[in-house]
Point group: D2
Chain length 291, copies 4
C-alpha cells in the first residue's frame, strides 16, 4: 500500500520501519526532519509536510505525543485532511482522548475520508521488534483494509468495536492499569523497605507471584531507582491519566484510583520528574514516607 | 519429622497432605474435626487439642483465618505453647499482622521455642498441587531446619530475613498488590463497559498486555461476575488491608491506595458481600457508577 | 454609570436590581427574555443581544453558568466585545476557570477594553439582599472605577490582586472549601446515624462547635434531606471542583481532597442528582454505607 | 459533691478548677504530681493513686490522652474501679474510642458502678474559662445526677443518648470535621499561594465566608505557619482519626475523607511533626506541591 506516516519519534520509527519491511511504500514526515531521515535508508521517502505525506496515500498513520499535535496535524493548516484523497484512511496510533477520536471520526467522514483509532501497547523496543499489541476500532470495512498494516507492526491485533473511540478508551484504561501497578509497587516498596526487607527480595517474590514481564520490568526499575532514559515519560503518564478521567467523567464513572494517580503524578511534576520514566512515581511515596 | 498441624481448612488441608506425602508424621487438629478426619486416610493422626498436636512434635504448623485465632491457638488455654518441647518450632503459615508476629517471636523465645513466619501465596488448588510460593523469615538455623517442610508444600521458597515479621509484611504487601489490581480492573471495567466495550474483549487485551495468570483469572471472575464459591473471602481481604495499613503506620508510611481499598472493601461489606470472593470488589465501582 | 448586564438568572436578577437601586442605568439581556423583563419594572431597559447591552455602556457585567457561556457572550458572534466602546470594562461575576480569565484579560486588552474578575459568594437571597461577598481582581485603576458597583451589590469587597484570574482562583477555592464541608458532614452523618445518634442532635452540636451559618444551613439541609429547590445545583458544584483541579494542576499542586470530591460528585450525577442542591452529596456516602 | 479527678494536663487543670469553683470537693491525681499540686491552692486535695482519688467519691472524672491510659487508670492495678463505692459514677471526659466506651460501660455495670461518656470540645483556654461544649451520653438517671458537674465546666451540654459510646462517636466525628477543615485549608492555601494570592487575603475572605471562629483561628495558624505551642498535638489528631475510622468500620461506613486525613497525618509524623499543633497538617500539602 501507499502510506504516509507522521511522527517519527521513538515509537513511530519502529512502526514505520516494520511497514517498510512488509513491503509498503511509506512517505514520512517529522517536525524535526533528522529523525525521519534515518528511515530513508530503509526505503522511506521524506515528505516536507503532513499534507505532502498524505497526498496520494491509501492510508496515513499518525503517531504523535498528544491530542493537540494530532488535531493540528490532521486538521490544522497544511494538515493531512487537506490532501487526503477520497476514501483514504487516517489511522491514528497515538494515545489520544476519547473526545478527540469522536471529533476526528466525524470530521473525516464529512470530507469523505475514513478514520480508525489503532493505539498500541508496547515500548520502543517492542515497536522495533514488531511485538506491539494493537487495539483497533472503526468501521468494519476500514478495519479489514487496514488489517495487513496491523499485522506488519504487532504481535497481535484486537478489534474492539465500530466506534473508533472505543479503542482509545481501552488503551487509556490499559495505561491506567499499568500506572495503578506502579502506585501499588511504590507503596509496597516504601512499606517493606522501611520494615527492613531487601528490595531485590521483594521484587523477586512479586515477580514470581504475578508471573508477568510488566511487573518484572517496572518492579526492577523501581527497586533499582533507574528512571533514565525514560521509556515513557512521566508527563505523558499524567496526560493519559487525565484523559482516562475525562473519558470516565463523560460516562459518569468515578475512578478514585485514577484520581489518586493524578495527584501523585502532579506531585512528581512539582518535584521536577516530568521527563523521568513514569516508574519514578515511586519517589512520591518515598518522599511522603520521608524515606 | 514429627509434626503437628493446626487448622485444616481449604488451605491447610492441601498443605498437610503434601507434608504427609513427603513422608512426615503429622498430628492434625481442627476445631471442626470432620475436616481433619479426611486426612487420616492420608496417614495423619487426629489430635484432640492444639496442645496434643504439639506434644512431642519437632515443628507445629498453624494455618488459621486471623490474628485472634493464631494468638489463641498458640498462647491461649490448651494452646500449643503449653505443650511444645524445648527447641521445637512454631511455623505460622497464616496471614497475620506484623505486630502479632513480633509478639509470637518474643513469647516463644522466652519459653525456649523457635518461631518462624512462613505465609504462602496461592489458592487452595495450588496448596493441593504443591504449587504454593512460600515466604519465610526467622532465625537462620531454624529456617534451615524447616527447609524440607517448605520444599514439601510449595514450588518455590523465598527467605526474606532473620526477623520473622518481615515475611508477614511481604505477604501483606503481596495481597495488597493483588487487591490493587482488583480495584484497577473494577474501575477500568466500569469505564469501558459504559463506553460500549465488550467485557471479554477488554479482558483478553489486558491479559495479553500483562501476560499474568493472576490478571487472567481475576479478570475473568470480574468480567463474568462469578464470585462464588469464594477462593478468598472478601472479609479476609479487608482484614489483610487493615493489617497492611497497621504495619505501614508503625513505620510511618502513608499508603493512600491501601486506604482506598479499605474504603471500597468496607462498602462491599455494607452491601453484604463479605462471604463472596474478594474479586467482587468490582461491584463497588459498578454501584458507584450506577452501572 | 451606564451599564449592560448579561445573564438574568437567580443570581443575576438580584445583582442587577441592586445596581438599579443604586441609581445606575442598566440595559439587561437574557437568552430567555421573560426573566429579564421583570427588571424593567425596576427601571432596566431590555437589550436584544449582548452586543446591544454593551453598546455605549461604561461597564458590562456578565453572570453566566459556565466558561462556555461567558466565552460565547464575550467573544462569540454578536458578543459584547464587538460593541464595547474604547475604555469600557467587562466585569465578570461568573464562577469561571482561571485559564478563561487569563484569556479574557488578554483579548479585551488587545481591543482596548478593560477586564475585571469579580466573582461573588452568596446564595440568591443574599444577592437580592445586597449581602454578597465580592472578590475582585484586575488592574488597580479599573478596580477603583468599579468600586461603586461592588458597593452597590455586596456587603463587603475584597481586592486580591492585579491579575484578574486571582479572584477566580480564590472563588474556586472558596467553593472547594464549602464542598469539603459537605463531604465531611456526609461522612460524619453516615457514621453517627448508623451508630444510633439522632441527626438533629449531631447537627446542633456541630453548629455550636463551628458557630458558622454556613455549617448551620448546609447541615440542616443534609439532616433533613431537603435538596430541592436547589440553591446551587450539584452539576455546578462538579464544574467548580473540575475548575479548581485544573487551576491547581497548572501550578502543579495536588489536591487529593478536591479529587475525592470530584469522584463523589460524579457518582451523584450517575445517580441522577445533577439538578438537586449540591448538599445532596450526602446521598453518595449514604449509598456507599448502604444506609 | 465529692469528686475524684484523674489527669491534670492542659485540659484537666481547667476543668478541675471549675469544679472546685462550683463548690465541689475534688481529690486530684496526676502521674506527674507537680501539675496536680497547683490545684491545691484552689482547694483540691492530692491523691496518691487513682484508687485513692476514687475512694468515697460520688463521681470520678478522667481526662487522659488515650484509650490505653483510660483503660489502665480505670481497670488496671490500683485503678479507680478497685476503690469506687457502690453507685458511684465514672465520668470519662477523654476522647476515647467507641469500643473502649462500650467495654467501660459493661465492666462498671458488672461491678455496680455507673459510667458516662462526656467528652468535651474546646481548647485549654476554653476549659479554663468554663466555655467547653460537653457532649454526654449514658443512662438517663446518671446524666441527671451529673448535670451540675457539666454545668460547672462548660457553656453548653448536649445529651445524645442512653448508650455512653454515642457521645464518643459524636466527639470523634466533630474532631474529624475540624481535621477536614484543616485539610481543605491546606490544599486551598497551596493552590492560592502558588497562584500568587496573598495568604492573609485568602484567610480574611474565607473567614468572612464561613463566619466561624474555628476557621478564623486555624486559618490564621496555617497562614502564619505558627504551629507551636501545640494547642492539640498532631499525634493526638492522628489518634482521633484512627478511632473514628474504627468506629465507622464497625458500622460498615466507608469514610474516604477520614482515610485521606489518616494518610496525611501519617506523612506529617514521618516528617517529625507529631508534637506540633495539628494545624501543621498544611505542611504535608506544601511539601507535596514542592512549595
Amino acid at each position: 500500500m501507499k502510506l504516509g506516516f507522521i511522527g517519527i519519534g521513538k515509537m513511530g520509527a519502529g512502526i514505520a520501519r516494520n511497514l517498510l519491511r512488509a513491503g509498503h511504500s511509506v512517505a514520512v514526515y517529522n517536525r524535526t526532519p533528522e529523525k525521519a531521515k534515518a528511515l530513508t535508508q530503509d526505503g522511506a521517502t521524506m515528505a516536507a509536510s503532513p499534507a505532502e505525506a498524505a497526498r496520494d496515500s491509501d492510508a496515513v498513520m499518525t503517531m504523535l505525543p498528544d491530542d493537540h499535535a494530532v488535531e493540528d496535524v490532521a486538521f490544522g493548516e497544511g494538515g493531512i485532511a487537506s490532501a487526503m484523497k477520497p476514501g483514504a484512511v487516517h489511522v491514528s496510533h497515538s494515545t489520544i482522548g476519547v473526545a478527540l477520536a469522536k471529533k476526528l471520526s466525524k470530521w473525516h467522514e464529512q470530507r469523505g475520508h475514513g478514520y480508525i483509532s489503532a493505539p498500541v501497547f508496547g515500548r520502543p523496543e517492542a515497536a522495533e521488534a514488531k511485538k506491539l499489541v494493537v487495539v483497533a476500532a472503526g468501521p468494519a470495512q476500514l478495519l479489514e483494509k487496514a488489517r495487513p498494516l496491523f499485522d506488519a507492526i504487532g504481535r497481535r491485533t484486537f478489534v474492539v468495536g465500530a466506534d473508533a473511540s472505543e479503542a482509545n478508551v481501552v488503551k487509556l484504561c490499559g495505561n491506567f492499569m499499568i500506572a495503578s501497578m506502579l502506585e501499588a509497587f511504590s507503596e509496597a516498596f516504601a512499606t517493606t523497605a522501611k520494615s527492613g526487607v531487601n528490595r531485590q527480595d521483594f521484587l523477586e517474590i512479586i515477580s514470581e507471584l504475578f508471573g508477568s514481564p510488566v511487573y518484572g520490568n517496572y518492579g526492577a526499575a523501581i527497586a533499582n531507582e533507574k528512571f533514565e532514559p525514560a521509556g515513557f515519560a512521566l508527563k505523558l503518564g499524567l496526560k493519559d491519566i487525565r484523559l482516562v478521567l475525562e473519558a470516565a467523567a463523560v460516562e459518569a464513572v468515578p475512578m478514585p484510583l485514577a484520581s489518586l494517580l493524578r495527584d501523585q503524578f502532579i506531585s512528581a511534576v512539582a518535584h521536577g520528574q516530568q521527563d523521568l520514566d513514569w516508574s519514578s512515581l515511586s519517589q512520591v511515596s518515598a518522599r511522603s514516607a520521608s524515606l
